[in-house]
Amino acid sequence: MNRIMKSTLPKKTKPSDLLVNQSGIHLTEIKPVKGWVPLQLAELWQYRDLVYLLVWRDIKVRYKQTVVGSSWAILQPLITMIVFTLLFDKLVKIETGETPYPIFSYSALVPWTFFTHAMTKLSTCLTGNYDLVTKVYFPKLVLPISIILAALVDFIISFIMLLILMVIYGITPGISIITLPLFVIMAVATAFGIGLWLAAVNLQFRDISNAVPFIIQIWMFITPIAYPSSLIPEKWRALYGLNPMAGVVEGFRWALVGSSWEMPVSILATSLFAVAVLLMGGLFFYRRKEMTFAEVA
C-alpha cells in the first residue's frame, strides 16, 4: 500500500533521461500501519496481468501428469451424484417432487464442488506460495483472486455436464434461469469470503489445513444437497439460511428447474445477508493481516 501517485517532479529537476519517458514519478511512502487498511482496488487493477498469468499457470499445471485431465472436474460431482441417487433415491426415497433425483442432486453438486475446491485451494494460497509472500511485493489479494478464477473453469466444465444431463432427462429451464448468474456470483462470493479468512489464519496457524476437510464434511450435511430444504421446519429456515451455501444451492436448483421447484425465500434472504458479512469481513480481515504476512509466514 501507500503507493500513491502523489506528485510529479517538475521537468527541470528530473535527474536523468530515464525518468522522462515515465508517465510521472511515483512517490512511495513507507510507514507503520495500524489497524484496518483500505482495500486499494485501484492498485489491484494495476496487477491484472499478474492475475491473468497466475490463473493461466494454475490451469496449465493442474492436470499435468494426470491421466484423465480436466475430466476430473466432471467425475467428482458425477460419481457423488450416482452414489447419492443410489442411497437417497433408491434406498431412503427422498421426495424431490417432479425433479428426477439425479438432476436434483447434480444441480446442487455443481456449485458445491466449486465451493469446496475453491475453499480448499484458497486456504493454502498463502502457505503454498511462500516465496511470493515473503520475497516480492504485490497486492496479496492477487493470489486468492487468481485461484477463484481458475476454479471457475472447472465449474464451467461441470456445468456443461449438467446441461447435458438436463437434455437427457428432458428438462427445460423456465424463466427463472435468468437469475442463475446471481447464484453463481453468490457461490463465488461465499467461497472467496470464507477462503480469505482461512488463508490469512492458515499462514499463522497451520491447524486450518487440517480442519478444512472436516469443515467441508460437516458443511455438506447442513447444506441441502442430498435432501431438499423443505425438510427443514418452516420456523427454522431463516436460521438454516445463515449457511450461505444453503441459499446458493437452493437458488441454483430453482434457477435451473424452477418450474417444478419452489424457491425458499426465507433461506435466500438470510443467506444473502450471511454472504455479505462473510465477504466484507474476509476482505478487510485479509487486508489487515496482509501487513504482517511476510513476518508470520
Binding site: 500500500m1 501507500n2 503507493r3 506528485s7 517532479l9 529537476t13 535527474p15 536523468s16 533521461d17 530515464l18 525518468l19 515515465q22 514519478i25 511515483h26 512517490l27 512511495t28 511512502e29 513507507i30 510507514k31 507503520p32 500501519v33 496481468d49 499478474l50 491473468y52 498469468l53 497466475l54 499457470r57 496449465k60 499445471v61 499435468k64 506460495n129 516465496d131 511470493l132 515473503t134 520475497k135 516480492v136 511485493y137 504485490f138 499463522q204 496457524f205 491447524d207 501487513m291 504482517t292 511476510a294 513476518e295
Partner: protein, 276 residues
Amino acid sequence: MGNFAIKAENLSKSFRISHLSQSLELHDALERLIRTPARLVTNLFSNSQSATQVTRLPAYETLWALKEIAFEIKHGEVVGFIGHNGAGKSVALKILANIMKPTKGLAQIYGRVGAILEVGTGFHPELTGRENIYLNGAILGMKNHEIKLKFEEIVDFSGVERFLDMPVKRYSSGMRVRLAFAVAAHLEPEVLLFDEILAVGDNAFEKKCIDKMKALAKSGRTLIFVSHKMASVENLCTRALLFQQGKIIMDGSCPDVITHYSSLPNPNGKANSKDE
C-alpha cells in the same frame, strides 16, 4: 521533495520472538482471546492489578532488527548494504521493497521500485522457460506488453534459447539462475533493490551480471545492493552503508567502509539471525 531517490528517517523494525513452542501458539492466541475480556471484567470488580498479573514467564521478547536508521540516497547512486549476518540489511531492504511494514519511522522513495530478494521468485518447475519469463516478469511488476517487448533481449542475455520450450524442472540450476537474473535485469523501475543475488552462477555469468548492473546504474537508476561479497560491492558500488545490530554505524565511500568492516570482530554466535 528533495533531490533524493530514497530517504529513510528513524526507520525501525521490531519482531516478537516467541518463547512458546509452535504447537502452543494457537492455544496461546485463543487463551488471550478469552482472557482479555475476562480480565476486563475482573478488573472492573477489583482494584488490585496484582491478582491478574500473575507469575507467567514472558511468552514473547521484542527484538529490534532495525533501530532508528536514517539515510538519504541520491538519484543514480549505487549503494552497497554490508554487515554481518543479522545486522539488519535484509530487513531494511524488505521494508524498502514494501514487503514488510516498519514498526516506526518513514521511508520515501521516488520512482517505481523493483526488488529482487531472491533469484527466480515464483518460477514454476512444470512451466517452460518461455512461460516462466512471462510469469516471473509479472511477479516482479512488469506488464505483459513490457515483457513482450523485452523478450528477445531477456532470452539473449540468459543464453538458454535452445531450452526455451523445455520445462524449467529439467534445467540445470545454473541455467535456471541465468534465466531468472535475465528477467530481473530487464526490469524498468528507477529504483532497484538486490539482495545477495550474485551468490550463484559461475564467474563468467557473475561478471556479466555485474556489467549489466553497472549499465543499469549508468542509465540513471538507483541501485541498492546487499552482499557479503566485498569484491562485488567494491566493483559495483560508489558508496556503502555498514550495518551492525540494527544500526548504520558507517556511511561513506566504498573502500573506506569495507576496510572498517573487515576490521570488525564477527559478532555472530550471540547475535540473532532473524533476517538472513
